[in-house]
Symmetry: C2
Subunit: 133 residues, 2 copies
DNA sequence: CTTGACCTTGAAGTTAACTTTAAGGTTATG
DNA sequence: CATAACCTTAAAGTTAACTTCAAGGTCAAG
């Protein structure tokens, strides 16, 4: 089977070498085998593991959460745990969408009210922000 | 007219004293008058200025952007500038909502597919994250 | 046999928006 | 007049997720 130096793994995965070593320190990547000269040698499936990390990050998981998911996989743990982590993530995302939507509504309405002409004094944007609630 | 020590201003505004001094260093708050013993004395309108900062933060503006807005107000600058800053903010918020909505859709669908029972091996959540795109 | 492209480690820097710590001076209260 | 509750400054710490730097060892090409 094929093995990679860290630079080759970096090219395959799109994750910088330093970030790979960082993930190792953070226990997201296992310690790989070493050559005689102490170079890291990675098995092929290291690429998939890094891509899992990348995708989970895109979904908004933190490295802490990703570590949890990876540890569950490594231990072939309980699927209920994974579902709990993902459900919490979904909740977070829904909250974010809600609060952003509220802001979007007020901000876009305010922008419509502002002609964009004239001095700051009396500007609807500023007044909307200054507004108490 | 009433004036406040920094602690009183902190109580009025809900912003920690240290944060107020931080805003002063960052040019969000003007340097206030000082007493003989070098204590800061704030005029009443400092409360409104801090509340403007708080609200703008809730709207997702960064301190850099808030500083811009405040400087425009202080200089009674051009309303068009304020509108530009707010429009950019609206764009950012809309982008965030869009990408979060995409994640929400995939994540909630994936969660429905996962019974939450059984071992990690074959868990739909993990497989969805591992998926290439 | 030297040059350049790799690899190693550990430590420090980055960003945002503060908070905490350290080491003191001032003021109000009993 | 002592003590607690304020205030002052500058500097360092916090969090996340890396990146950059420093100082060096290794390896392939010419």
């Amino acid at each position: 089977m094929k093995t990679f130096n860290i630079g080759e793994l970096s090219n395959q995965s799109g994750v910088a070498s330093h970030a790979i070593r960082f993930y190792e320190r953070e226990n997201l990547m296992p310690e790989p085998a070493r050559t005689q000269s102490n170079y890291r040698r990675y098995p092929e499936d290291a690429v998939a593991r890094l891509q899992f990390i990348i995708h989970a990050k895109q979904w908004g998981f933190t490295l802490d959460e990703i570590r949890e998911l990876l540890m569950l996989q490594d231990a072939n743990g309980d699927r209920a745990e994974a579902k709990r982590i993902a459900s919490e993530q979904l909740e977070k995302i829904r909250h974010q969408i809600q609060s952003l939507s509220r802001i979007e509504a007020v901000l876009s309405k305010t922008l419509e009210e502002c002609s964009g002409e004239g001095p700051m004094d009396g500007c609807p944007i500023v007044e909307a922000i200054a507004q108490e609630r």
